[in-house]
């Protein structure tokens, strides 16, 4: 699998300060065991100044490392420079770099494996009902449902709906209601459905009903994109009504 042509992902940015440091070490053909990081400090700083390859959302990470480099450099010009002692920041950073280089190797390997695997198509990769749409649908975990659930709970709490309802809700009734809605509309938009509920109790019961239905494979939760809406569909293999 290592022999397959490396499938490179081009990025405009260095993944982080360690990525940039390794790049500089390689570029200057330095050996990580002999290197004094002070040597490449100014080059690192000029990348930072010109924002060359610097991911704007990661600037602070690059700056933290810049501070470490400057500290290392300032120590190196002291009258009695310490050798790479146990606790020296230089040794620490070098250790991190060596470990990070391994991570990069593993990442490349995983990338090659991903490339190889993607040549093999599996069933259900295309969901039957969406064969003509342009996006892919992925199953979501209870975790994501919970995310939306808590957001709604918080909103409801702000609206002071807490405990105002005297109505009682049962999972049995909810399950019937949900099955009915799906039969009628083909699916349920999770956010829209939860927003329509009018008490914490009803939300809790609905949420646990949905979780249980998903757990029993009666429902499938699908999300169109990372932050897209979650839709619930009947699992064709199961009878919704039981």
């Amino acid at each position: 699998m290592i022999e397959t042509p490396v499938y490179q992902v081009q990025t405009d940015f260095f993944e982080g300060p360690l990525d940039l440091l390794l790049h500089l070490i390689r570029k200057n053909k330095l050996n990580i065991n002999d290197i004094r990081l002070a040597v490449i400090t100014s080059e690192y700083l000029s990348y930072l100044e010109n924002k060359q390859g610097i991911n704007p959302s990661r600037e602070s990470d690059f700056l933290t490392t810049a501070a470490t480099l400057i500290y290392i450099k300032s120590r190196s010009v002291l009258p009695k420079p310490e050798s790479l002692a146990e606790e020296s920041p230089e040794k620490q950073l070098l250790y991190t770099l060596i470990e990070y280089e391994k991570i990069q190797k593993i990442s490349k390997m995983l990338q090659d494996m991903e490339y190889t695997e993607r040549l093999l198509w599996r069933r259900l990769e295309l969901n039957e009902n969406f064969a003509n749409r342009e996006y892919t649908l992925k199953e979501v975990s209870a975790f994501q449902l919970a995310e939306i659930f808590f957001a709604i709970v918080r909103k409801k709490e702000n609206e002071q709906f807490l405990y105002v309802s005297s109505k009682s809700y049962s999972i049995a009734a909810k399950q019937t209601e949900i099955a009915g809605l799906i039969k009628e509309n083909g699916f349920i938009d999770f956010s829209a459905y939860m927003k329509k509920l009018d008490s914490i109790e009803e939300i809790l019961v609905s949420f646990f009903t949905l979780l249980e239905m998903i757990k029993r494979h009666l429902l499938i939760a699908l999300q169109e994109s990372l932050f897209g809406t979650i839709s619930l569909y009947a699992n064709e293999a199961c009878e919704l009504s039981n």
Binding site: E59, S60, W121, F150, K167, I171, L204, F208
Partner: protein, 186 residues
């Protein structure tokens, strides 16, 4: 029919679970003559599927399209294989009670009954017997009612490692509301 055509038809039918329109397949194989295509399909169906007892699949035409399905004589075996033997499921009343205990624990019987709007004595007893909840203490109010909390078995039932794996509000905030790091260059 070339073996490449046969392989391609098998692969596209395998990947798409929906019946595929004949027109789309013809276009894909760059065949324009319907009679020719029909002949290809019939050969494929007979020689690659029906006449081969070692194959578990067959072609099926439905809804104006073509689909791969399992052979009908395998139905009983497949049903046996894919039947999930489930342990007795919790009753819906028990689940309802459990959901309240999980998120509001420790809770008293009265608190649970209040939230459900019906008396929860039965389900609580049932859950205690199934060891999904336990008495975790006494509430310091008149009558010292028992407080119920979830158990180890509860975690197993819901596939959780520990209670903290029930997604908490904080957890979700940490993971799902990543704030952009403030840029220091402006």
């Amino acid at each position: 029919m070339t073996s490449e055509q046969a392989a391609l038809i098998e692969a596209i039918l395998f990947v798409s679970k929906d019946p595929l329109e004949l027109g789309r397949i013809m276009e894909f194989l760059q065949i324009s003559d319907e009679t020719e295509f029909e002949k290809i399909l019939q050969t494929l169906e007979k020689e690659h599927f029906l006449d081969r007892p070692e194959r578990g699949l067959q072609l099926k035409r439905s809804g104006g399209g073509l689909q791969l399905v399992t052979k009908p004589e395998l139905h009983d075996s497949l049903k046996d294989f894919f039947t999930i033997k489930q342990a007795t499921k919790l009753t819906l009343a028990s689940l309802e009670t459990l959901s309240i205990v999980a998120y509001r624990q420790p809770a008293t019987l009265a608190e649970i009954s209040d939230m459900r709007g019906v008396n929860a004595t039965g389900p609580v007893k049932n859950l205690l017997q199934k060891k999904l909840i336990r008495i975790s203490g006494r509430k310091k109010v008149p009558g010292l009612p028992a407080l119920y909390a979830t158990t180890q078995e509860f975690l197993v039932y819901f596939g959780l490692n520990d209670l903290s794996q029930l997604p908490s509000l904080e957890e979700l905030t940490e993971l799902f509301e990543e704030k952009e790091q403030p840029s220091l260059f402006k």
